[in-house]
């Protein structure tokens, strides 16, 4: 990806975020939009892990859970401001990822999948079982960020939906910008090199374990911040955020859109977030359709939706 492409990707993303509200028929759509951005943020993290470095994780919802519960617990027990709690969650997730990543990332393929899966399940189990602290399966309330009230005092009145649409949109843009910067940085190149071949990468001097760990930690921080934003905007959180199905959803979004590309990640997140909203009319068929979409896209568009579409368009131009 050249520098020009980076700014095109960011520009497209920024334009979409800014212009889409013009077509929103009701306030409900801001909510859905904010949810898409949150999901896209964690998926951008997975693009770094899966797309750049070629590693897999079936446990990243665990980090989302840590971020979410940091926002729920820290203000109540440590008296921390919710904004600082987001930071705390990100730090805890990063440290956690560094600690478990070291032994885990020696594993490959399915073995890495089961190890990360185990981690994710452990986190969701703790969140579900420590009722005294987390409220158990029923979940717990999350303190308000307070920023919206501040803006209102300054004379800028926003609905909850509009406010979170804006915040999540900006955070997604920043996240995408960082991820795109990483792509062409020495670290990003090293990650992509070890994705191609670990042996070849190490012969040219790439510190393979270190770069894998870096990708793992960065993606964990993305997931954690996304989890925090989800908790803050809903004002409520349950252990489902750390559940196995959430991990699967995240990986599916990443691969669905096209795992190498940040724009694709957003696209995948949008589709998989919208699907249940569209299907609420046919609630009974929701699972069936979701599963079919996953299977069919992987079979017929193995590169993911966006790269496959892009290739087709390019083919027509020439």
């Amino acid at each position: 990806m050249t520098g020009r492409n980076k700014w095109i990707s960011l520009g497209v993303l920024a334009l979409l975020i800014a212009l889409l509200p013009l077509f929103f028929p009701s306030g409900y759509y801001y909510r859905v939009g904010a949810l898409i951005f949150v999901n896209a943020l964690s998926v951008v993290g997975l693009v770094i892990l899966i797309g750049y470095a070629g590693q897999i994780s079936l446990g990243h919802a665990g980090f989302a859970g840590i971020g979410a519960y940091a926002c729920a617990l820290a203000p109540e027990h440590l008296g921390l401001h919710p904004a600082l709690a987001v930071l705390l969650g990100a730090v805890v997730s990063g440290v956690m990822a560094a600690l478990i990543g070291k032994p885990i990332l020696r594993l490959k393929g399915y073995y890495l999948a089961v190890a990360t899966l185990g981690f994710g399940i452990l986190v969701s189990m703790v969140l579900t079982n420590e009722r005294a602290l987390t409220g158990g399966p029923d979940g717990m309330n999350v303190a308000d960020l307070g920023l919206r009230g501040l803006l209102r005092d300054m004379g800028w009145r926003l609905s909850g939906g509009e406010f979170w649409y804006m915040i999540c949109g900006v955070v997604l843009l920043v996240g995408a910008w960082l991820a795109l910067n990483l792509f062409d940085s020495p670290s990003g190149r090293a990650m992509r090199a070890l994705h191609g071949s670990e042996v070849a990468a190490s012969t040219v001097g790439v510190d393979v374990p270190r770069q894998k760990l870096r990708a793992f930690v960065i993606s964990a921080v993305y997931a954690s911040v996304a989890g925090s934003l989800l908790a803050l905007q809903n004002g409520y959180i349950t252990p489902d955020v750390a559940g196995f199905m959430h991990s699967v959803e995240m990986v599916t979004m990443a691969v669905l859109g096209g795992v190498g590309s940040v724009l694709g990640a957003t696209f995948g997140a949008a589709i998989l977030t919208l699907l249940p909203q569209v299907l609420t009319v046919f609630a009974e068929y929701e699972q069936l359709v979701l599963g079919l979409v996953m299977v069919l896209v992987m079979i017929f568009l193995p590169q993911g939706l966006l790269p496959s579409i892009a290739r087709r368009l390019k083919g027509r131009d020439e």
């Binding site: 399915y110 089961v114 185990g118 990986v251 009974e284 996953m294 193995p302």
Partner: protein, 290 residues
């Protein structure tokens, strides 16, 4: 001591089911290098279809046979419709395909049948048998015995029959197997059918104890996968030992430590094994090809 025996009985019962699920994983993995996350759904289908054909008036043994055959056909269909078209896809894609397939199966089951929990009567009554101060349900003996029978049967199949050897040959080296005239496509079909049938059989055996509902498959798939990994992916002996060990770990944790964290200990043990022995207990060392 009595308590320990009691925990081991329940551990072996659950472990036998994990072992059968892990065996299903192993057979498909050997034939196709695919980890089939829909494996747990086969167990669910075995239980569900038996429940509903039994309620429709079929005698229980016949209902069980119908369930196993139908599930087996679904396994073959899964291979033909979803796995074969994606041949050579990366691991991530294959994981998503089989998880997607498991969601489809769950969604369809919930539409065709319902969302309730069901059971059918135990095979030989519900009077517990007393052994050395502990008790065991007759159905537990069915589960453990059934699992052992499947393993012995498969061992004979793989070592004594031409077809079984063809499957082993394909698992070792697909291209070489093709060169000596083995129809590897057919071996894959057979493996999916067999693996689904084993899963369904496990479902039939365990439903009188644990009940069955459309969503019991996810947890079973995770435990079975973990058991297969613990034993070493691709090794039937590992599947048996891994499954039984996992079942006993869970039962002992539930008994002595905390029933809420019984599953946590299972995953901690697996993480520990993977750290120390990345190939699992019985897995063979492999080197990366450059």
């Amino acid at each position: 001591m009595d308590a320990l025996l009691q925990f081991l009985f329940s551990g072996l019962t659950v472990g036998a089911v994990y072992a059968l699920v892990a065996l299903g994983f192993t057979i498909i993995y050997n034939a196709s290098d695919v980890v089939n996350f829909a494996q747990g759904e086969f167990v669910m289908l075995g239980g569900m279809i038996t429940v509903f054909t039994y309620q429709a008036g079929l005698p229980l043994p016949l209902a069980a046979v119908v369930a196993i055959l139908v599930t087996s056909a679904i396994g073959v269909a899964l291979n033909k419709l979803a796995i074969e078209p994606a041949r050579g896809a990366p691991v991530v894609s294959l994981i998503i395909i089989t998880i997607g397939a498991s969601i489809v199966i769950r969604g369809a089951t919930q539409l065709i049948f319902d969302k309730q929990l069901h059971r059918f009567p135990s095979f030989s009554g519900d009077d517990p048998i007393h052994v050395l101060g502990a008790t065991i349900l007759p159905q537990s003996l069915w589960v453990i015995g059934g699992a052992l029978a499947v393993f012995v049967g498969l061992w004979i199949f793989f070592t004594r029959t031409l077809t079984g050897k063809a499957v082993l040959a394909t698992a070792n080296n697909r291209v070489a197997a093709q060169l000596v005239g083995i129809n590897t496509g057919w071996v894959m079909t057979l493996s999916f059918g067999l693996s689904a049938a084993i899963g369904a059989f496990a479902g039939v055996l365990v439903t009188p104890i644990t009940l069955v509902g459309y969503d019991v498959g996810v947890a079973l798939a995770l435990k079975g996968f973990a058991a297969a990994m613990l034993g070493g992916m691709g090794n039937p002996k590992g599947a048996l030992v891994g499954g039984l060990l996992l079942g006993c770990f869970e039962a002992l944790t539930a008994g002595y430590l905390s029933s809420q964290y019984k599953e946590a200990v299972a995953f901690i043990v697996i993480l520990a094994v993977l750290f120390v022995m990345p190939q699992g207990l019985f897995g063979s060392k492999s080197t990366e090809r450059v």
